[in-house]
């Protein structure tokens, strides 16, 4: 199976969420309030935070910056990844569809501590 395109997944989920908002009637919550925006700083050889907790079914906007060089963020359990270039915000948007604990790692070889550059993404209720 091909890794689903993050943006496409996001678009589908927005549609789903929108229809459930409609079901709730006029008092539905707007997307803007629902979105979980989390800033993650990458540097050789760590992420901070390195444990990211998000809610299932709610759009997530991860905003990565790098303090030194190219890093990566790859979470195979959720089929999401992005490059993290220095000097810009690297955005990764997705909607977590399953609960659990998903390890992530840097997948752009970044030096002597590269193999220890890891973290955990927690998807909770």
């Amino acid at each position: 199976m091909k890794i689903p395109n993050g943006a496409l997944l996001f678009a589908c989920a927005v549609v789903l969420l929108a229809s459930s908002v409609v079901d709730l009637g006029g008092g539905g919550i707007s997307l803007g309030q629902e979105e979980q925006v989390i800033k993650v700083v990458a540097k050789r050889f760590e992420y901070s935070p390195n444990t990211i907790t998000v809610k299932i079914g709610v759009p997530v906007d991860l905003e990565f910056t790098s303090l030194d060089r190219l890093h990566g963020f790859n979470c195979p359990g959720l089929s999401i990844r992005t490059d993290i270039y220095p000097g810009k915000v690297n955005r990764l948007q997705f909607v977590p569809q399953k609960k659990g604990t998903f390890p992530f790692h840097c997948d752009n070889f970044c030096g002597s501590g590269h193999e220890g550059m890891t973290g955990t993404l927690l998807v909770t209720d």
Partner: protein, 300 residues
């Protein structure tokens, strides 16, 4: 599909320490009268990580590669050639130190009596400078050569720090493959697995599926790789992929523990999990008999 070594033996219909792969094409592969084809051996050596330090993991870090070189020199038969499948050196953030390690590695393996030796980089050698220091010491990072009827293709999936082969090299691979017959025996050497062995531990190649797609029309393809520091046998369609042991520290089986970390040294079993590989190529029937050796040169 994932199969372990024993299942693979069963699938191949033979037993013992030796197994064969790429058994297709036995009848179709025929040599002309001028063919010089005959059986031969070659060796795969991998992941020597020269420069690594860590006594809990390998208290003989400075001696293991030298022992393996001595063991190869002591083999009763001489392999036709030796292929080093990357991570010749352990990574360093210092460009000068990287060159020093590559030079030291080169000095040690120059003691090999077999002089037909091919090298390719691992991400530890080439991931931080896109292969610059490796090329200075050893030349090209991807290339082909032919030996006694077998076409060998060295694919570099480490010099691009994104663990990709890259479109330019894929184009080169495509062009090279188009020059081969569909049943040409092809052996591909890579450092990382081309398939998704265990992406959580970075045991994959981001665009490896594209290379497998290019190789799939060819009926006699085997891929030999390193990177995971242990034997592993895996099929993608009819293509067999075999990972080799390393020569510095073993790594745990894919996903067998939460974090990837070197297997600690076992004083009761020194050098366990380290060694090199012999491949006997039976060219006429396109079979490869693979056997593993420990560092001391004993068949295991």
């Amino acid at each position: 599909m994932k199969i372990d070594r024993r299942d693979f033996l069963k699938l191949a219909g033979i037993g013992g320490v030796v197994f064969a792969s790429a058994l297709t094409g036995i009848d179709r592969w025929a040599y002309g009268a001028t063919s010089k084809a005959r059986d031969f051996y070659f060796l795969q050596m991998s992941d020597s990580h020269w420069g690594f330090q860590g006594t809990a993991v390998n208290p003989d870090a400075a001696g293991t590669l030298k022992k393996a070189v001595a063991a190869v020199n002591g083999l009763r038969w001489k392999p036709d050639f030796i292929m080093f499948t990357g991570d010749l050196t352990h990574t360093t953030d210092d460009d000068k130190e990287r060159r020093k390690r590559l030079a030291e590695f080169k000095g040690i393996v120059s003691a090999l009596k077999v002089k037909n030796v091919h090298f390719m980089p691992g991400e530890h050698d080439a991931g931080l400078d896109e292969g610059a220091a490796f090329r200075e010491a050893f030349g090209k990072t991807h290339y082909t050569f032919d030996h006694k009827g077998i076409h060998f293709i060295v694919v570099d999936n480490v010099s691009d720090p994104t663990s990709s082969i890259g479109d330019a090299q894929l184009q080169w691979l495509d062009t090279d493959l188009k020059k081969q017959r569909k049943d040409t025996p092809i052996v591909v050497f890579t450092h990382r697995p081309l398939f998704d062995l265990y992406p959580d531990w970075d045991w994959h190649t981001r665009d490896g599926a594209k290379a497998i797609d290019l190789l799939t029309p060819y009926t006699n393809v085997v891929v030999l790789y390193g990177h995971i520091h242990q034997r592993n046998d895996f099929m993608t369609g009819h293509i067999a992929h075999h990972a080799a042991q390393g020569l510095m520290y073993p790594l745990p089986a894919p996903g067998s523990q939460p974090k990837k970390a070197p297997v600690p040294w076992d004083p009761a079993n020194p050098y366990r999990g380290l060694g090199f590989r012999e491949v006997k190529a039976a060219v006429k029937n396109v079979q490869y008999a693979i056997a593993e050796y420990n560092v001391m040169g004993a068949k295991i």
